[in-house]
Amino acid sequence: MKSVRRIFSQIMVVALVLAGLTAARVIAKPISYVGGTMIMQENDETGYTLTVDHTLTPKVAIGFYGKKEIHGDKFTVGGPQVNTLVRRWNLPDGQGNIFTMTGVGVAQRNGAGPNNTQFAAWTSLLADYETRRIFTSYELRLMYAQHIEKSAWQRARVGFAPYLGNYDDLNTWIMLQVDHYPAKSRATSITPLIRLFYKSFLAEGGVNTRGEVLFNWVQQF
């Protein structure tokens, strides 16, 4: 069991370091184009997340999800994940989507103890709608890691583009993010942020109302 724990720790450390020491939920659509690979990385007051997805079909992507949780009970969780597009609306001036992201893996709490390495499973539902001017999204994530973590988390975002960027332009978005973690001591977090993207690279940063910094990035290949 110790060797499993050690190997799992090493894999997670390598993955997080490779990502630039980062943590993961969804900041871009979890399915890109068939044959495309995407690295998503989030850093905020809850921890560091890394997601790597490879799109197999227009409706399915597979990948890896890992997070080092630093908010409350400190633990690391990771494992393979499947993303599915449940429904998409391609409209003349907008696009709406419903996605699910589901994975299983291992969670490991910091320190030694009898229940510090546990089976983990998680699932998310993400809905979004955007035009060239406005953006809205809602995500609900459930995490189960036996004795380590049983939690629900939800996030809503609204945003607008101050100018209409075209494909070859630097695109800028002003967004407001609200996170709600009912199980945590600081249950609600409100973060104004700026999102910038150019071609296949996206980065966003903000500071929440408690002064904690958020920085996320996504690269498509």
Binding site: S32, Y33, P58, E130, L164, N171
Partner: protein, 95 residues
């Protein structure tokens, strides 16, 4: 003699059209995000038939320039767009 001339002129027309590059203009629904639409550019660039590709969110059009002597069929164009997550409204070919 008239038949020979007709055959020759047909062959000339076919040869000229085969050697010509084509511009394919595709109207696409759902293409509102430049970051997400990079999949379209990447997918088209992987096609050996494609010489150049332009994505325009304003007009909702993707314009593909083909190489001479190579055909990029409508069903291939439609699959590339749908595999990138979008819906084709129409495809117009210009010589």
């Amino acid at each position: 003699m008239r038949n020979v001339l007709a055959i020759l002129s047909t062959l000339l027309v076919l040869a000229a059209s085969a050697a010509r590059a084509e511009t394919i203009v595709i109207t696409v629904n759902g293409m509102v995000c430049a970051f997400c639409a990079t999949g379209i550019e990447k997918s088209f660039k992987k096609q050996t038939a494609v010489a150049a590709i332009k994505v325009d969110l304003e007009s909702k059009k993707v314009t593909a320039q083909t190489k001479p002597d190579v055909l990029l069929a409508d069903d291939v164009v439609t699959k590339l767009i749908t595999d990138a997550g979008y819906a084709v409204v129409d495809i117009v070919r210009q010589p």
